[in-house]
């Protein structure tokens, strides 16, 4: 058997396999999208149906303030229409402003001044409740300040002319609209002082590394083809060893993924910083090859593989820390995650390369080759199950 020809032909076959190439493309696209959206959670615009029953001016002003919010699309409508929109999932939340809203604010009361209903099928309700509460507090503060200033001036025998009050109100609207004055910034500490000096791994690389086990797994589906089972006997007869066969077949996927890592890395990081991460990335890919072979051997058919692969990818991504660092209560998971290649990559990305990574990669490749070999032997010796209908 010609190992080089087998590798080249397998590479061509991988490129021709539309379904797995689509998975690879989605991994790359997902990673780049995650990077370019940055760390901000993309909340999009939620639709808030506002039922304004207020008899005064404040309800309308509340609607105006909320309309300035980028994350909200506000529709001022009747209660029946709002309920209908919520039911049809065309609005994610309904805020009801009661008839005495202006009156309560003028009494400097803000408690229980609005009712917010959020659909149970909706996410990120804080995107609505936060702006709503803040808008109510702004209007309350205005009324409180006007009242208290009148008292302040009255104590001194002074008063504001009505036209001055009108100007003040217009100015207040402008001030609220100008947005927050004070910046609040998050600073995330680097894991180690030396790591703080280097350019960290991009979000895109982390996401790509988190998603790519799925591609590795489905790309190893050749192990599950019926034709492959009868092929291995023929191949063994030529003296070409099973491990060499499995590794040569897997090498094509390895090369494709390494190429994509380079693409994602160079698009989102400097070349120098990316080059430092290459050994860790290659070790990770080796480990993923082993995991893919192991999973394929355990699954025995492609349907089971397609069910297992996404769940495994999710679990590995979470536990390895590539997508988010494990919280402190997840100590057991953190300990277990050391057996995952992703953990080693995470440490390499954090600038703290672990000594375990090469061992883990080797262990997984060994496990993968062994399980693939055992799976082939089992398939060669088992009898076909008879379909009860045939």
């Amino acid at each position: 058997m010609n190992a080089y020809a087998l590798f080249v032909c397998r590479l061509k076959a991988s490129l021709r396999d539309f379904a797995s190439m689509a998975i690879l493309f989605l991994c790359v696209a997902g990673a780049l999208l995650a990077h370019w959206h940055g760390e901000q959670r993309q909340q999009g615009r939620l639709t808030l149906a506002l039922v304004n029953e207020d008899t005064g001016r404040m309800g309308a002003r509340l609607a105006d303030i909320l309309s300035e919010e980028e994350t909200l699309s506000v529709r001022v409508i009747s209660a029946e229409a709002a309920e209908r929109l919520l039911m049809q999932d065309r609005a994610q939340c309904v805020a009801r402003i009661p008839a005495d809203f202006s009156e309560r604010l003028q009494r400097r009361e803000f408690r229980s001044s609005a009712v917010l209903t959020v659909s149970s099928g909706s996410a990120y309700a804080s995107a609505v409740s936060e702006p709503l509460v803040n808008a109510i507090m702004k209007l309350w503060f205005e009324q409180r300040t006007i009242y208290n200033m009148d008292s302040f001036l009255l104590e001194r025998g002074l008063a504001l002319a009505p036209e001055r009050k009108q100007t003040l109100e217009a100015d207040m609207e402008r001030i609220w609209r100008e947005g927050p004055l004070i910046r609040v910034e998050n600073i995330t500490l680097a894991p180690s002082p030396s790591a703080a000096m280097k350019e960290p791994a991009s979000i895109a690389l982390c996401w790509f590394a988190a998603l790519i086990p799925f591609y590795f797994t489905v790309n190893s589906g050749w192990l599950l083809r019926d034709s492959f089972r009868s092929l291995t006997g023929r191949i063994r007869r030529t003296g070409f060893s099973s491990p060499a066969l499995f590794l040569t077949q897997s090498a094509a996927g390895f090369v494709l993924v390494a190429g994509c890592f380079a693409l994602v890395g160079l698009l989102t990081m400097s070349a120098g910083a990316f080059t430092e991460l290459v050994p860790g990335i290659l070790l990770y890919c080796v480990g993923c090859v082993g995991i893919a072979l192991t999973l394929c051997s355990l699954c025995r058919n492609f349907t089971a593989l397609l069910l297992v692969a996404p769940t495994f990818t999710l679990a590995a991504a979470v536990l390895s820390g590539l997508l988010m660092q494990l919280p402190e209560w997840a100590g057991v998971w953190a300990a277990l995650s050391n057996i995952l290649p992703g953990r080693g990559l995470y440490e390499a990305f954090a600038g703290v390369p672990g000594a375990l990574a090469p061992l883990v990669a080797l262990a997984w490749v060994t496990a993968g080759l062994l399980s693939a070999y055992l799976s082939q032997r089992r398939n060669n010796s088992k009898r076909e199950l008879t379909d009860p209908i045939l």
């Binding site: 379904a19 959670r41 999009g44 994350t71 309920e83 919520l86 039911m87 049809q88 999932d89 994610q92 803000f110 408690r111 229980s112 609005a114 009712v115 917010l116 909706s122 996410a123 995107a127 936060e130 509460v133 803040n134 503060f141 300040t145 200033m149 302040f152 001194r156 002074l158 504001l160 100015d171 207040m172 609220w176 927050p180 004055l181 004070i182 609040v184 998050n186 600073i187 995330t188 500490l189 894991p191 355990l298 699954c299 058919n301 349907t303 089971a304 593989l305 397609l306 069910l307 297992v308 769940t311 999710l314 660092q325 494990l326 919280p327 402190e328 998971w333 009860p388 209908i389 045939l390």
Partner: protein, 413 residues
């Protein structure tokens, strides 16, 4: 062969592959376990979570010191946070490194001066990556608190300017500003009362809705559980079952269709039946027990059955349409992925363009998500009825289309 025999036979066919059945039933449990034990615990215990943080105030002005005192001593915050004022950043970093605090809040010197003179004031929340979630929550709250504080300061200064123009003493006006700010901040600590809620932080579930994502998980795994039936149906339509004329007559084809629909739905129901009890523990015990009266089960059982039947009908339709099993499997998988994206399970809700969101509303996955959310967590009968009708309509359409295809394929030989 009678209908019951067909159903029994089909159940035997579908359930004979042990590896496949194990994969169908275990993978959702693994996904849920990872979700529940890593992401959700913090949110399940929202009432008992304390975020310990240190605050280092380097600004010596009285308003800022008062603001920090209020943050430190506010009653409404005591159930949610434990604040440790520190005299310098070095001490704060030491507390962070030792794990005694999750966050370090830094108010730089001249913070108030920058606000007053229209500079570029900034506050910093420092944490390690492990505490990024708490960091986000505190940041959102402090952000909104300070936005009002900063703008309120401008409002007060504007008013004070008017008061001085009207003849008031400047010193008295400045004292007045200080008093207004303190009073305002103190009330602001109870801002959530505007929506009849407590405290200053909105509920954790608003930042990361466990129930929403649980229902998304259930629905996605229910959809994935249709893949075995899809594969078998495709293999039958393109293989010996049709070629041997087993479906040549209408009665035989009808029994085959019903048998497959029921066996496919049985597998999906089994997957859901394993998930639901585990997911239901996200509710607090007393609330769960209160909900466990008649209404939840009356709502949940039909929701589960309808969800299972809909995905089974989808599997049959795709299997009858695509006669190459592996291709059918991939198509089914990508359809599930697309439905998940359009339904808001994978992409943030509201981030999708209106047309795609509208298409998403008409997928079985979206209706299943909404139906399960309503049945399990907060029953809104009008919404429940709407989703039931929508899902039932999709089921009928898919079932009819799939049935027609099976009849046609069976008779084609």
């Amino acid at each position: 062969m009678s209908l019951w025999r067909w159903i029994a036979l089909d159940l035997k066919r579908l359930f004979r592959g042990r590896a496949l059945i194990l994969a169908t039933l275990i993978t959702p449990l693994v996904g849920l376990m990872v979700f529940a034990s890593v992401v959700a615990p913090m949110l399940l215990e929202e009432k008992r979570i304390i975020i310990p943080y240190a605050i280092c105030n380097e600004d010596s002005s009285e308003p800022v010191r008062q603001f920090v005192r209020l943050l430190t001593n506010a009653e409404s915050l005591k159930s949610l946070t434990a604040v440790y004022p520190v005299k310098d950043m070095q001490t704060g970093y030491e507390l962070l490194a030792s794990g005694n605090v999750s966050l370090l809040v830094h108010v730089p010197a001249d913070f108030y001066t920058d606000i007053s003179t229209g500079g570029n004031p900034a506050m910093y929340i420092i944490a390690s990556e492990a505490h990024s979630f708490e960091q986000s929550i505190v940041r959102i709250t402090v952000d909104s608190l300070l936005s009002i504080v900063g703008q309120s300061q401008n409002v007060l200064q504007r008013f004070a300017g008017e008061a001085i123009d009207a003849g008031a003493d400047e010193a008295a006006a400045n004292d007045w500003i200080g008093g207004q700010m303190s009073g305002g901040i103190e009330e602001y600590m109870h801002r959530r009362a505007a929506l009849s809620q407590g405290g200053i932080l909105s509920a954790y579930s608003e930042y990361f809705p466990v129930q929403y994502y649980l229902c998304a998980l259930f629905s996605i795994f229910a959809a994935l559980a249709m893949l075995p039936a899809l594969y078998l149906s495709s293999a039958d339509m393109g293989g010996p079952v049709v070629k041997r004329g087993l479906l040549a007559s209408r009665p035989a084809a009808s029994k085959y269709y019903l048998g497959r629909l029921i066996s496919g739905a049985a597998l999906i129901l089994l997957a859901l039946a394993l998930l639901i009890p585990i997911g239901a523990v996200t509710e607090e015990a007393d609330a769960l027990l209160a909900n466990m009266a008649d209404t939840v089960w009356l709502a949940l059982a039909p929701a589960l059955i309808l969800t299972a039947l809909s995905f089974s009908a989808l599997a049959l339709f795709l299997g009858a349409l695509i006669n190459r099993p592996r291709l059918a499997l991939w198509c089914g998988f990508f359809i599930v992925l697309t439905m998940a994206a359009l339904s808001g399970a994978l992409v943030a809700e509201g981030a999708l363009p209106a047309l795609l969101a509208e298409i998403g509303r008409w997928t079985p996955l979206k209706s299943a998500m909404s139906l399960l959310a309503n049945s399990l967590f907060s029953l809104d009968s009008a919404r429940y009825a709407q989703d039931t009708l929508r899902l039932a309509a999709m089921f009928i359409a898919l079932a009819l289309a799939g049935y027609k295809l099976v009849l046609r394929k069976g008779a084609a030989l």
